[in-house]
Symmetry: C2
Subunit: 403 residues, 2 copies
């Protein structure tokens, strides 16, 4: 038996099939016995789905107790009818649970611009709220009920000590099903029984998202529905974390990053039609933000991605993409490595092309886990990110999505 959401103290959940999607579960509920400190990050897209607008409002006070998520319909570009649908989801969930509406977060994923099936979803909530459970299968049902084109459920669980107290943390995510979050919705929900103030949680969540989910994202390229929410209900009964200097805070921070990076990586590894998982690393950078920008530009270059698909050690494309990142770096100081974690081949040393065995390189690039590393030799900071290749299968799949 695996540990999941249901192994966090006070958390129950469920995943049901309401009929919005033809075959798979399409409604997830996550509930905390007590109100939890809550923090979230939302899409930066100018076009924002109705549930996002409502969740943004409800989380403003730093507290939440329930999350309701539907799949199959994004409730985006749906206007007044969609707004009412999202409100009905929140209202029904709050009423059925007997909690305040302001403690309910709501999320949606699926097709954009279709009328929202409010009745089906509301009926589904009423029928299933009584099934909320702390049994392991309930966690699996919830993890499966938020998927769209994903080929597998994405879950994570960690247990660790905070100031001598055992703490449990669990999360579920859905990928874009595609390579970048701008190509579909990215959702992640993490629950933890640590006691932490809403303010400190908010700061910690934003920093961890920057190192994880945002490193599989082209900066600013987000779908209408993206959302990452973290609920910490304090039922571990540790002395509440309120400052970054509190004992155990650094452990909590590291574990939150760990679970987010794990979920982010599983999203990339489930990219539609992708055949490679590529780890990008920038080392010895003047600062971390610059390293991240370089990685986002390189990992989102269609030319770099097609080269990885074709096992082509075309390092010129990598440097060209880096040059487009809008950050100053000194090409004449840069070393570039390409290969896998075990066999990393130096392609450039201080900007100078190195001889390499082309046949050996093609052999290395045949592997499914690749590694691209750039050493800027101009500082002490590093950044890491993850991406996939761009394949003919990807194009085929996405050319006929609604048809």
């Amino acid at each position: 038996m695996i540990k999941n959401l249901t192994n966090v103290r006070g958390i129950t959940c469920w995943g049901a099939h309401t009929g919005v999607k033809s075959m798979r579960r399409d409604l997830a509920l996550i509930y905390s016995e007590v109100p939890a400190s809550a923090a979230a990050t939302f899409t930066k897209n100018q076009v924002v789905a109705e549930p996002i607008k409502l969740s943004r409002k409800n989380i403003a006070n730093g507290k939440a107790q329930a999350i309701v998520i539907n799949a199959g319909n994004a409730n985006a570009c749906t206007g007044e009818q969609g707004r009412q649908g999202a409100e009905a989801m929140v209202k029904t969930t709050a009423e059925e649970l007997g909690i305040d509406e302001g403690l309910v977060l709501v999320a949606s994923t699926g097709l954009i611009g279709e009328p929202f099936p409010t009745d089906d979803v509301v009926d589904g909530i009423k029928e299933n709220i009584g099934k909320l459970s702390n049994k392991s299968n309930a966690g699996s049902f919830a993890a499966n009920a938020i998927l769209t084109t994903d080929t597998f459920a994405k879950e994570g669980f960690l247990e660790f000590d905070v100031d001598g107290i055992e703490v449990n943390m669990a999360g579920i995510a859905k990928g874009s099903g595609m390579i970048h979050p701008n190509m579909g919705t990215m959702l992640a929900f993490i629950v933890c029984d640590v006691a932490i103030s809403p303010k400190l949680l908010d700061k910690t969540v934003k920093a961890a998202v920057d190192k994880s989910f945002n490193m599989i994202t082209v900066d600013g390229d987000t779908s209408t529905n993206d959302m990452v929410a973290v609920l910490c209900n304090g039922m571990a009964k540790n002395p509440e974390l309120t400052s970054t200097k509190d004992p155990g805070y650094n452990t909590f921070k590291a574990k939150l990053e760990e679970i987010m990076i794990h979920l982010a990586q599983t999203i990339v590894s489930d990219g539609e039609g992708c055949s490679k998982f590529v780890r990008y690393e920038v080392v010895n950078a003047p600062d971390e933000v610059m390293g991240r920008k370089l990685i986002r530009e390189i990992s989102s270059s269609t030319l770099v991605k097609t080269a990885m698909f074709g096992r082509d050690p075309n390092w010129g494309r990598i440097m060209c993409a880096a040059g487009n990142a809008g950050v100053p770096f000194d090409f004449e100081k840069t070393d570039l490595y390409l290969g896998s974690d075990k066999e990393l081949v130096k392609m450039l040393e201080k900007g100078k092309p190195q001889d390499f065995d082309r046949n050996n390189m093609k052999r290395i690039l045949r592997q499914s886990q690749l590694h691209i590393k750039m050493d800027l030799n101009s500082g002490k900071h590093r950044a890491e990110g993850w991406g996939s290749d761009l394949t003919t299968d990807y194009v085929m799949f996405n050319s006929v999505y609604t048809t």
Copy 2:
């Protein structure tokens, strides 16, 4: 017989095969009998090819008399050896023509990071400079000698009156051979016999590039070698244009935009493996820059491009891409149209999805020239841009480029 570069007064040119490329012409020379007012725009990439560095320096005084271009080797990421190669191209051209080195512009296109074949190129210049000619075939040779993966030569010619004087303008370009300039080098060279001051020319060229070549470009995403240069040698003997208020200036400005848009469109229509030409239009925007940003974001979205390939009227992807452009616009005021110039179907009215005949839409999208139009209903400005679809052929081609 077509009119081309050689129909501009005082212009001679040539295109030769030096052996850097195995089969096709790979060295172009353009020469003006007298020094010309000159202006250029260059790549914004941080990694800059050696010829770009040199041309930037040589054009600083607003004058040029010759352009020398090699294809097959980009002379980028080539270090000191490449720097010397670019300098040798300029020096040899200047010596053979008996002009000042500062009057020579140099450009390169081809593979990045390969040692620069200086001897072949320098010998080629020496052998061919005597062949500079004002015969029509010389213009065609030059247009062909700057190509890489392009499938056809890109040329334009216009004649018009400036303040009662007949003026001739001609241009050649090479495409990335791909969909965005970040995926390969974009070069364009335009010559005109109008008399215009360097300062006014510079201003006019920058504005025209923003409306043409930059509208097939993702902002800031440019290759290491991109360059657009315009030489106006004054041999039409019109009173020199020095102010935007001078008689005939507006005609010159309009014609420069026209030839640049023509060349930019031919570049898009020669996109590798692309099956559609898509015209993007934003109307009734608060300002033109905002319209351009929206177009650049939409036209570079892989999801929009794969949908066009698959004839999928997936307007949600268009709005999602628009939302990522980083500009504020009111979705609830936006109308969206999709189709062809002749049959444009309203998909959204004031943010509200419209019913449409899906089968009819699929029929329309089978055409090779598509049109996407967004009406923001919040201003009086418009912008236009051009792009292509993303096909399985594109991925196949680019996955094996150097191998």
